[in-house]
Amino acid sequence: MRKNQVAVVGAAETTELGVIPNASQLQLHADAALNAIADAGLKLSDIDGFATAVETPQQVCHYLGIKPTWVDGTSVGGCSFMLHVRHAAAAIEAGLCKTVLITHAESGKSMIGKLPRSTPADSLNGQFEAPFGVYGPPSMFPIPVLRFMKTYGITHEQLASVAVVQREWAAKNPRAMMKDPITVADVLNSRMIAYPFRLLQCCLVTDGGGALILTSAERARDFPRKPVYIMGTGESVETPMVSQMETFNSSRAFKTAGPLAFKEAGIAHNDVDHLMIYDAFAHLPLFGLGDLGFMPYEETGKFIADGNTRPGGKLPLNTNGGGLSYMHSGMYGMYALQESVRQMRGIAPAQVPNAKISVCHGVGGMFAASGTIVFTNER
């Protein structure tokens, strides 16, 4: 795909984030969509392309009154929205539609109108993982961590520092759920969830949503907000069963999606001013830094523990506070994208001065899928 041909011209989260007991999941989609449409200065009737995950496109389009000529229901977990951005950019370039709305919302905490997630007993996960006591992401996502730590010499303290640094970013963000400072000792003394991970190394569980609007770079000049261009994109999937990953020393999906996006954007790692790596759990930024090629895996833990990703550090990472401290409704990819767009617009609560290139990297399932978007505010 050619770079910088499509831009984000509308971006917004739900009016509230956190605990929202007065709205269903479907209404949260609508709330985010209406906020994004207002942000872009558009009407609902201007939308001719639509993408969402978990909820179906027909469900959300009918609720909003949208009549699309292009839809994408790709649903591969929390990075689905990175894939939607990639697919939407291709669709706009191909002339299949002009203005795409992407929505996410999840009543992850209040569980109002939330679709059930189940693992059938005759699925492969149901036969070869569920009988051994996996029960939700905290029991599955950290399974590779001990092998990764042993292979690369990563310490428990370094993995704890991920949560500490992200809390520093969250403290600057009025909408973050958790803002009180924490120490490595606090993390290592918090309640054990699934060894080696403790409570403060696991993401929050909240309600909320977000929406993006994309159009061609040519049309983007006529919108009220500063356009944020899609400079590069990548995607892949590996396996729905964490036990069947090729290796626990890296993620094949990350290693496919990330480099694709860098190549398409034509950038090197030292061109990146701002970085988001979906942090459902504390090990994900380490996998991301290594798999995206920022540094050897052995250096990832020390890099974060030494403060290189904290406010004022040389590689600002997860500047909204991340899934660990900002919010995590279940599919966090949309919030990572929103923070990249805010940084490129120059309006983030913890703004990185003069940031021109933002890389936003997502995971779906337990390393099952991945999507990477490179944004820029210069064409």
Partner: protein, 137 residues
């Protein structure tokens, strides 16, 4: 009121040989007749070369501890926390999720790369699960 049951696998036509094997006290894997690739989970073709000519064979049941978590909360129905959820790498190459028996469920006792051997845990009169214990000697 009955206790919530541990998740029970339901075989499909493609996996029935595996579950027949565990019931008979055998860990069964598949090997491609064309390229010799050994793979898991079961399927009637080779995921490496796409050949449909594959054979079922009895695996050694030996392997090592590749990685694990010790789950504290939330615990799955039928499990008493803390309990380890392990991934075992078999000597034949494939990895599988399992539990570790006859071993304290602690970081000190569960050492990565420790040698393991298969055992079979009866869930009911139809299903036995492959679990692993520290290898003897």
């Amino acid at each position: 009121m009955a206790e919530p049951q541990r998740a029970r696998p339901k075989p499909t036509p493609e996996t029935q040989h595996f579950w027949d094997g565990t019931k008979a006290g055998e860990l069964r894997l598949q090997r491609c007749d064309a390229c010799a690739h050994v793979y898991f989970p079961p399927r009637p073709f080779c995921p490496s070369c796409a050949s449909r000519k594959v054979s079922v064979f009895k695996a050694s049941g030996k392997g090592f501890l590749y990685s694990y978590v010790i789950n504290h909360r939330p615990a799955a129905p039928g499990f008493t926390p803390p309990y380890a959820i392990a991934v075992v790498e078999l000597d034949e190459g494939p990895r599988m999720m399992s539990n570790i028996i006859d071993c304290p469920q602690t970081p000190e006792a569960l050492e990565l790369d420790m040698k393991l051997e298969v055992a079979f845990q009866e869930l009911d009169d139809k299903i036995a699960l492959p679990v692993f214990r520290p290898a003897k000697g």
